[in-house]
């Protein structure tokens, strides 16, 4: 084989190497942002709930069980898409979900929960987004796994759906949570 023949294969080789890189790249998720908060206690807060403006809760309300904390808002279209799945999780799997209603209006949020059903055990009303800021929220929706000691174990950016749930469920079970027997 002449040198020129060999040289002509170089572009193909480069392309194959890049191809492998992309295959690998597809299985990685750039939106899976490594959160500096993972492994740290849930940030301190003191916020009223959606159902009752006089009911003020603190981070102590998070301890006691492995739960999901879901950041949502009525202005966020993906949250609406996600909502029915959260309802399903709460009902059929018995997942305890705490909502953080992020930069929203209480009246709109209550209406939403009436209209689309309420999967949350309670909702914190984070009107100013201050808890969101402490959590490092990137955008709604975001979902965190918080263990019984109120330590953040995992963060998912974007919609929770059946595909994402498989992963989250496994992580929650590893922390000692078990789904409701139906």
């Amino acid at each position: 084989m002449s040198m020129r023949r060999v040289l002509l294969f170089i572009p193909l080789v480069i392309c194959i190497v890049l191809g492998f890189l992309f295959v690998k790249g597809l299985s990685l998720n750039p939106t899976e942002l490594p959160s500096a908060k993972i492994g740290k206690p849930f940030p301190a807060f003191s916020l009223a709930t959606i159902r009752n403006a006089n009911e003020v809760l603190t981070e102590a309300s998070l301890t006691g069980a492995v739960r999901l904390v879901n950041v949502w808002a009525t202005w966020c279209p993906t949250c609406k898409q996600e909502h029915s799945f959260l309802n399903k999780l709460a009902q059929t799997e018995g997942v305890e979900i705490i909502g953080i209603n992020y930069k929203d209006q209480r009246s709109k949020a209550s209406q939403w929960l009436k209209r689309y059903r309420d999967p949350y055990i309670f909702n914190l009303y984070d009107e100013q987004g201050s808890l969101g800021l402490d959590l490092g929220v990137y955008g709604a929706p975001e979902t965190y796994i918080v263990d019984a000691q109120a330590i953040i174990r995992y963060r998912h950016v974007g919609e929770v759906n059946a595909r994402v749930w498989v992963d989250i469920k496994a992580k929650m079970q590893a922390l000692g949570w078990s789904p409701k027997k139906s």
């Binding site: 020129r4 392309c15 790249g25 597809l26």
Partner: protein
């Protein structure tokens, strides 16, 4: 009903593309004129069905048919009708449909303009384009149909078009950009046809060049518009971010620029043949790569679409087949494509080779920088990305080098040039460029900045070469002006395109060096001075638009203590999506832009305000416009009017 008709037409288009990919190709390899004669009717019907399909989607938008999922996700009944129509390409599914529609448009254009092509070449070119069509229409149909319905729970109101996209720039930017991306598929198809037939002669280059130049012109203006849009719409006054998506459009442009030059050598001198073929394959591959990067979610970017790994995998497979297949074909067949003449060291060929090498180096660096986060992540190194400093550090010196060689290359002749004559032309212009460049830089700003001064010197260097070359073209003519007016459109296109590069270079150098900006808190009555402008903030008031409400600030600007302008930047709130948008107010001028934007409201009627002075900003885009114009002009060269070939095709 109409959305189903759209889906149905898309399926028919898919079938046409599949026939187009197979029948003429078989015909060309068997030498069957009958089978090859199917190419044109199939190409035309492919276009017709795509036209119906995209029209149906536009109709669904115009009539607020929110039972169509894509319409519900990207439109709103309060949206003005022109945004409803441009919302057709406001999301992943619709923009993909636009991509395929434009592809079918190019296929149609090739089909009706190919009368002079030998039948077997025409059949192969259209068949290759048909294959690309099959790939992308099936991608649309299988993973991303815009016609999907929401028949249960039909929303009463749509989620609205992303406010960032509610803008004139975004109405025309994607179609033009896609015209460029997809247009390179024609050069690609010609390259594959040449490899398959083993024929690559002067005629081949003459057919390929106008298509390539046209695609390049569209891509140029597409990128220019994108930069202009980012400048005034993203609201912080940047005009190039080295964002993955910007890079995705810039890489095919760099490679396409190399291709345009290399094709010139192939046409005029029968040289660089296999190199030209490789560049044609690479240019289109990079266009596809851009599509992959934007839509697969392997990289994050300000304007990437909803990431979906399944779609990513599909495009990756498409990419593997197209690029892998064509490079394999290249590896096997390019050996037989041999160049037929030679050239001396001091010749235009050498300089174009340098141009190509530098462009390919720049392109590779942009590619590496863009893929770096992916490479590091794949190797287990965590999340990391390289920012503008990396790109600027490498891009600036290489583009200045390119400008230096441009000044020489323009004056050189094909095959060989006389060193003495060249020196006689270049030496005076070299010293003159240094003198004029430095004086111009000094006049502009007494503190000479090295890079900006060098850019100005090189700008004059190129301009002098352009003038010298034009005059040497008519040196033996009695009336110089008549001689100049008789030069071919291609020649003027060459002049204008290089002038465009110079204009952009001057703009980039000056705006990057001498821009001034302040982010400050202003209460009504505050005055801030920037360069020779002073800004008085006079407060902000509430206003409301068709589908938003806004705070509008009023800022009075004085230039050298004379009234200059009253500016009204806005901060808009779009309730349908709950999103905030910054609408900057820009006073554009030939030599400077004044830019004001509102940040956040602060206590006591104060606002965070961003003020910017950007000298020569318009030049960056004006150069792009010149380059586009030049690319379009070449198409009118009489040389490319294909005559009916006298030679019948022999099987």
């Amino acid at each position: 009903m109409i959305p189903e008709l759209g889906q149905y037409s898309l399926i028919l288009a898919m079938i046409m593309a599949a026939f187009l990919a197979v029948i003429p190709m078989v015909g060309a390899s068997k030498g069957s004129l009958f089978l090859m004669s199917f190419a044109k009717p199939l190409a035309k019907s492919l276009f017709l069905f795509m036209l119906i399909s995209i029209f149906c989607l536009a109709y669904a938008f115009a009539t607020d048919d929110f039972s169509v999922k894509y319409v519900a996700g990207n439109s709103n009944s309060a949206l003005p009708v022109y945004y409803k129509l441009s919302a057709v390409w406001g999301g992943h599914e619709g923009s993909l449909l636009l991509w395929v529609f434009i592809l079918s448009g190019w296929i149609f254009a090739v089909a009706i303009k190919s009368d002079g092509l030998p039948t077997d070449i025409m059949a192969r070119v259209l068949a290759v384009l048909g294959m690309v069509g099959v790939g992308f229409i099936s991608f649309t149909l299988i993973t991303s149909s815009p016609f999907e319905r929401l028949l249960v729970n039909t929303p009463l109101e749509g989620a609205d078009l992303n406010p960032l996209l509610q803008d004139i720039g975004l109405i025309i930017h994607p179609p033009l950009l896609y015209m460029g991306y997809v247009g390179f598929s024609v050069a690609f198809a010609f390259a594959i046809a040449a490899l398959l037939s083993g024929k690559l002669d002067v005629a081949w280059s003459r057919w390929t060049r106008p298509w390539t130049n046209l695609a390049w012109a569209f891509l140029t203006i597409g990128i220019t518009l994108g930069s202009w849009w980012a400048y005034y719409e993203l609201g912080w006054g940047g005009w190039w971010f080295w964002d993955p998506v910007e890079n995705a459009s810039f890489m095919p442009w760099l490679m396409g620029t190399a291709l345009v030059h290399s094709l010139a050598v192939t046409e005029k001198r029968g040289l660089f043949k296999s190199w030209t073929l490789l560049l044609a394959i690479f240019t289109f591959s990079l266009s596809l790569l851009g599509t992959f990067l934007v839509r697969s979610g392997v990289l994050t970017s300000v304007h990437s679409f909803a990431a979906d790994p399944e779609r990513g995998l599909f495009i990756l497979v498409l990419l593997a087949i197209t690029v892998g297949g064509s490079l394999l074909l290249y590896a096997i067949k390019a050996y037989d494509v041999k160049s037929e003449s030679n050239f001396e060291l001091l010749s235009r060929e050498t300089l174009i080779l340098i141009n190509n090498v530098v462009l390919v180096i720049i392109c590779s660096m942009v590619l590496i920088g863009t893929l770096y986060p992916l490479i590091i992540d794949a190797l287990g190194g965590g999340k990391m990305s390289v920012g503008p400093p990396y790109f600027n550090l490498l891009f600036v010196p290489f583009s200045l080098l390119l400008a230096f060689f441009m000044g020489i290359g323009i004056l050189l002749r094909w095959k060989k040039s006389s060193p003495r004559k060249l020196l006689k032309q270049l030496l005076p212009s070299f010293f003159l460029a240094i003198a004029v460049g430095i004086s111009a830089a000094y006049l502009f700003n007494q503190e000479l900045a090295f890079k900006a001064t060098l850019a100005l010197v090189l700008a004059f260097w190129v301009v002098f070469s352009l003038i010298l070359d034009a005059f040497s073209k008519v040196s033996n003519k009695a009336d110089k002006l008549v001689g100049l007016s008789k030069l071919s459109p291609s020649y003027w296109a060459m002049q204008i395109a290089h002038l465009g590069v110079v204009v952009t270079m001057v703009g980039v150098a000056l705006v990057a060096t001498y821009s001034e900006e302040r982010d400050i808190r202003m209460v009504p009555g505050d005055i801030v001075t920037l360069a020779e402008y002073s800004f008085e903030f006079q407060g902000a008031e509430k206003i409301s638009g068709p589908n938003y409400s806004a705070d509008m600030g009023t800022i009075e600007v004085l230039k050298n203590n004379q009234f200059f302008a009253t500016m009204h930047p806005e901060k808009r709130f779009y309730p349908a999506r709950g999103s905030m948008m910054t609408e900057a107010d820009i006073n554009a001028g030939l030599f400077a832009d004044v830019f004001v934007a509102l940040g956040e409201p602060l206590a006591d009627g104060a606002w965070a305000v961003r003020l910017q002075y950007k000298p020569f900003m318009r030049w960056v885009w004006f150069g792009g416009v010149l380059m586009m114009f030049a690319g379009m002009l070449t198409v009118f060269d009489r040389r490319y009017k294909i005559r009916k070939s006298a030679l019948p095709v022999t099987a």
